[in-house]
Amino acid sequence: MLNINKQAENGKLVIALEGRLDTTTSPVLEVELKSSLDGVTELIMDFEKLEYISSAGLRVLLSAQKTMNNQGSMKVIHVNETIMEIFEVTGFSDILTVE
């Protein structure tokens, strides 16, 4: 299960995720991002309520990061310990801006 909450304001988009970003739910986020990144220069992904992420979720994050590299910036905030370790093991901590 994944809940996606979006808040947009003047080119800034905050996406708060709740639940699990896995093989089943990642396509939902992918579609959501594709339709909402136009004109966004600052993307913030809030992971406070995200429990876990699998490689399918990492793929979506990588694709969002590539898009934002071309049009602005992206930040991932409130990352829990389990997800942080996954970012570190996979080198995603170097690709993403994690705060």
Binding site: D22, T23, T24, S54, S55, L62, N69, V89, T90
Partner: protein, 143 residues
Amino acid sequence: MNRTGQPENNELVIAAELKNLPCVLDFIEGHLEGTSISIKQKMQILVAVEEIFVNIASYAYAPDQGNAIVRIEFSDEPVEVTITFMDNGIPFDPLQRRDPDVTLSAEERRIGGLGIFMTKKTMDSVDYEYKNGQNILRLKKSI
């Protein structure tokens, strides 16, 4: 507990299809409940189970279909959980896959192989064997 000291119904036989992933995760999560496992360990195990099952569902029988067997066992010394995946698909050892280069930038990154790589990093051991026409992949994690 049954005669072998394992919880009952510790084996799930299920069609190896992506839509069955939630069933597999529920099955594993159900057996982990009530153990001394930490949330972090539980999440690592669920991620590993997802990666392995998705691999089987995507490749083992393609373009046909078949079953996967998922078995969960606990041992006391050492205190660990063992999860075994079996399928009768094409012989395939995911551990032979080369690890991805995790130092590349976002633009250079290729995503393939990341799931198996994460599994190898977070489990204590991951073993593969092909025996009697079956792919057998075994994850172990001390808890």
